[in-house]
């Protein structure tokens, strides 16, 4: 598909070439489903890119000394990896791709509130992402994705262009968030009241609030770094009365809630998948909703736990430690709710549920290691070591990426109308989970042993654990490739799935798969609850009584 298109939007040429027509139909679409798919393609490319950087970094660590790249290249690679994964993949991935596709379907709307803004937000994302990648590819940037001053304000690398790019991407995030908030408030079908909203939509709602409130703070602090760097204003420069720790406060005021921008939608996916494949109502719906909103709120009060050793007062540090524990409580409620939902269910074990199983283990492990790093004396040892690297990869890869894969398989029939191969899907899920664990578990131990992060070379006694981690990364990559292959094959040759292969009651399954251009031939009444599995579908085979199951 070529990307050429012309600015005259509504003028239909008399005999247009087919390719150009198709390009215009897709690239200038205002259909939320197509924008979702466009986002999916773009963010997946970012994932592939970020993953490639990660593999290179792991290869570099195969030996204690230099392996394949120079120290300068290594520093640029981990910066590229972080920036690409955080801003170009993890933050937008689930809300923009799946959120755009599914939120209108889940609330019985035919569109988002601002379809043109939605398209604009996509192109801002593409432009910003291209800007960031060009700046970093051509100019090089070696500050790490955190841009800590005063290193970043004195670094001769491409700090300003990269920050401009991230600033641009931030606009896309804000516009998407506003769009979802307005859509969910104003466009719900008549009978879809707040407490009947599907849980994925609730998760997107919570996420959007964080996006709208936190992203401007990031924009402002990056702007100040740019001014500092370009005009030597010295706002964060201690020699001129500035305070470098202030930057860290501002940065983490955004970047800690950003973790919940990544994990809340993932939790939304898990809630949907668990309920659908257990064919049972979530236990309890309200607990999940309140926990979602609770995380969105408390997430704003915990940023200081990134700075226990940064020179904060011990009182502040203690307060942030306690507040951080609260997030874990909300997460624990969700985990127990999901488990409890499985109980007495009628469980269909398919690939998405397998990913959710992996999610449960990895997220609980990663989350509890988060409680461990909020336990302050332990964090003093772990801060800025591989322990922290392992901890947040358990949440972001073990949590968010695993849920993204679950979502991909779960809604694949919804989007394409085809079935993927369960055998390939499950094998890929197993490879991804095992590979992930093999990659990141050794990094916990590396952190314990005292290996700081962002080290190009390391003392030889860390070699064995590093090699184990690198081998794991290859397993993880092959699992992802296999999953990609399975889905690509199914996209082209998969058997038709029917409208509702999982027998889900959720609102988005109450239309054809793939949905017609305007989502619903006729907007259903949604009288039956999104999680009401107490009665059989009219077209389902009659209830089979199985003697060994207590009802």
């Amino acid at each position: 598909m070529t990307t050429t298109f012309e600015p005259e939007l509504r003028v239909v040429p008399s005999a247009p070439p087919r390719v150009r027509d198709l390009a215009r139909e897709w690239l200038l679409t205002r259909d939320h489903k197509r924008i979702g798919i466009l986002y999916f393609v773009a963010t997946s490319l970012a994932l592939a890119l970020g993953g490639t950087f990660a593999l290179l970094l792991r290869i570099e660590h195969l030996t204690p000394g230099p392996t394949i790249v120079s120290p300068a290249t290594y520093d640029r690679l981990f910066t590229l990896h972080g920036v690409t994964m955080v801003w170009l993949f993890l933050i937008p991935s689930i809300p923009t791709a799946f959120g755009n596709y599914l939120v209108p379907l889940q609330i019985g709307a035919r569109e988002v509130a601002f379809p043109r803004l939605n398209l604009l937000s996509f192109w801002i994302y593409v432009f910003g992402a291209a800007f960031v990648l060009c700046a970093m590819g051509l100019g090089g940037l070696d500050t790490g994705w955190t841009f800590y001053v005063p290193y970043s304000s004195s670094s001769p690398s491409a700090v300003v262009p990269t920050l401009v790019g991230i600033f641009i991407v931030g606009w896309s995030t804000i516009l998407t968030g506003v769009n979802f908030i307005v859509t969910i408030h104003t466009m719900r079908a008549r009978s879809v009241s707040w407490m009947r909203l599907p849980l994925f939509t609730w998760a997107i709602y919570g996420t959007s609030i964080i996006q709208v409130l936190a992203t401007p703070v990031l924009g402002l602090s990056l702007l100040i770094v740019m001014l500092d760097h370009a005009f030597s204003w010295g706002l964060f420069d201690a020699a001129r009365g500035g305070d470098p720790v202030l930057y860290q406060h501002l940065f983490w005021f955004y970047s800690h809630p950003a973790v919940y921008i990544m994990i809340l939608p993932a939790m939304g996916v898990v809630s949907e998948v668990v309920s659908t494949f257990a064919h049972k109502n979530p236990h309890s719906y309200r607990a999940i909703v309140y926990a979602t909103l609770g995380i969105a709120f408390v997430g704003f009060l915990t940023w200081g736990h990134h700075m226990f050793v940064a020179g904060m007062s011990v009182f502040d540090a203690g307060a942030f430690g306690v507040l951080s524990m609260l997030v874990a409580v909300f997460s624990a409620i969700k985990v127990f709710t999901w488990l409890s939902t499985l109980r007495n269910g009628s469980i269909m074990l398919k690939t998405p549920l397998l990913y959710v199983f992996a999610f449960l283990f990895l997220f609980v492990f990663g989350g509890m290691s988060g409680v461990a790093v909020a336990t302050m004396s332990l964090d003093v040892h772990w801060h800025d070591t591989y322990f922290v690297v392992a901890h947040f990869h358990f949440i972001m890869v073990g949590g968010a990426l695993t849920a993204w894969l679950a979502a991909l398989h779960y809604w694949f029939p919804k989007v394409t109308g085809r079935l993927y191969s369960e055998r390939v899907g499950m094998l890929a899920a197993a490879l991804v989970s095992v590979g992930f664990f093999a990659t990141f578990f050794p990094q916990f131990l590396l952190g314990n042993a005292g290996m700081p992060r962002r080290y190009y070379a390391y003392p030889p006694e860390f070699t064995a654990l590093n090699v184990a981690s690198t081998l794991g990364s290859w397993l993880l990559a092959s699992g992802l490739l296999l999953a990609l292959f399975g889905l690509a094959h199914a996209f082209l040759f998969g058997p038709p799935s029917g409208d509702n292969p999982w027998r889900s009651r959720c609102f988005e399954w109450r239309t054809a798969s793939p949905p017609p251009a305007h989502d619903f031939e006729q907007v259903p009444s949604f009288e039956l609850d999104a999680y009401d599995y107490t009665t059989p579908w009219p077209e389902e085979p009659p209830l089979e009584s199985s003697a060994e199951e207590p009802s």
């Binding site: 670094s155 720790v245 719906y285 499985l342 009628s346 990895l362 509890m368 059989p536």
Partner: protein, 341 residues
């Protein structure tokens, strides 16, 4: 048992009592993390096998009982808070001033650690300290943010430009411990490492004597001359008399009443702050007239002046003042005078 767990968790040999205590908490917290996640996974496996079904059956509507969630939340939060309370107490110990500490001034720069000792000598990347004496580091950076990391002590502290931070480390066992920079600071970040050598008292004494011939003035002596050169004595005295500014005699280790009513401990970090940013903490009863010495007073001289002020603490207070609780002497109260009956 401790040794076995320590090796199982790949932790380096613990240098101090505090490090061992932190490790004990580590085993409890990470042990329950492992058990907790395995239990959740096992429960999920059991539930999936138990309720797996080839045909989709209608399931009963499970209504939520709110009491359960609250009970769960309460249980989880109290377990977490218990870990936090223990952890916070340990955390505070890194920031409590130790009496009789062996104090070393640390200056970080890309990409080396410079250590300045009380007797005036300085070394690069290798820090030698005596066994069985608490160690206190007063640190600053000359360029970007670094982080002084001692895995063997389970200790870490970011080192900031334009700010002095202290890190209290307990008395360590003899041995050699790795020093790393933990905060990314540029291209040679990974190479900014050093070694902390903790020597038994006698060996340390030998090391002190072996190193001393090449300089004849101690840090205290340097501090006195530097104070004179920078004009400190036009406002401060070292004999206990109040002048334009507070006297230095007996100042170190005392509790100082500030103009805004708060009390601070006059430790190395406070004294350094008072030189670099004098307007921030005005002592009660004095005018805010002191200029900043930021930029004009080099770090080694600042360290020397602090060391000089420290040497004055024993001048009139025998025996050692115990810190930081009792001896509060507001400058206007004249607490030192004898009570006239």
């Amino acid at each position: 048992m401790y040794e076995l767990l320590r090796r199982l968790f790949f932790l380096p040999r613990a240098a101090t009592e505090l490090a061992r205590a932190i490790d004990a908490l580590h085993f409890v917290v990470i042990g329950s993390t492992l058990l907790g996640s395995l239990a959740i996974a096992a429960a999920a496996v059991w539930l999936i096998t138990r309720y797996r079904s080839d045909v989709v059956r209608p399931t009963p509507h499970q209504s939520a009982r709110a009491s359960r969630e609250w009970l769960l939340a309460l249980g989880v939060v109290s377990a977490f808070l218990a870990a936090w309370v223990v952890g916070y107490k340990q955390f505070l110990r890194f920031h409590e001033p130790a009496p009789n500490a062996f104090t070393v001034y640390v200056t970080a720069k890309q990409w080396m650690w410079k250590f300045t000792y009380p007797d005036g000598r300085s070394t690069t990347d290798i820090l030698t300290v005596p066994e069985d004496q608490p160690l206190e580091l007063v640190m600053t950076s000359r360029d970007v943010i670094h982080s002084f990391y001692l895995p063997g002590f389970r200790a870490k502290q970011d080192v900031l430009p334009g700010r002095y931070v202290t890190l209290s480390l307990g008395a360590a066992r003899a041995g050699s411990y790795r020093i790393s920079c933990a905060e990314y600071c540029g291209i040679s970040h990974y190479a900014m490492s050093g070694e902390l050598r903790v020597l038994p008292a006698r060996e340390f004494q030998a090391w002190l004597e072996a190193g001393s011939p090449d300089h004849d003035s101690s840090l205290v002596e340097l501090g006195r001359t530097a104070s004179a050169r920078h004009g400190c004595f036009s406002c401060h005295t070292d004999d206990g008399q109040t002048h334009v500014g507070p006297t230095w005699s007996g100042l170190f280790g005392s509790e100082v009443l500030l103009a805004d009513g708060t009390r601070v401990l006059a430790d190395a970090a406070y004294l350094t702050r008072s030189m670099m940013d004098p307007q921030a903490e005005i002592v009660a009863g004095f005018q805010p007239v002191m200029p900043t010495y930021l930029g004009s007073l080099p770090q080694p001289e600042a360290a020397a002046i602090v060391e000089y002020i420290r040497s004055l603490r024993r001048a009139e207070r025998e025996p050692n003042p115990t810190l930081p609780t009792v001896q509060v002497a507001p400058p206007d109260a004249g607490a030192a005078r004898s009570p006239a009956p």
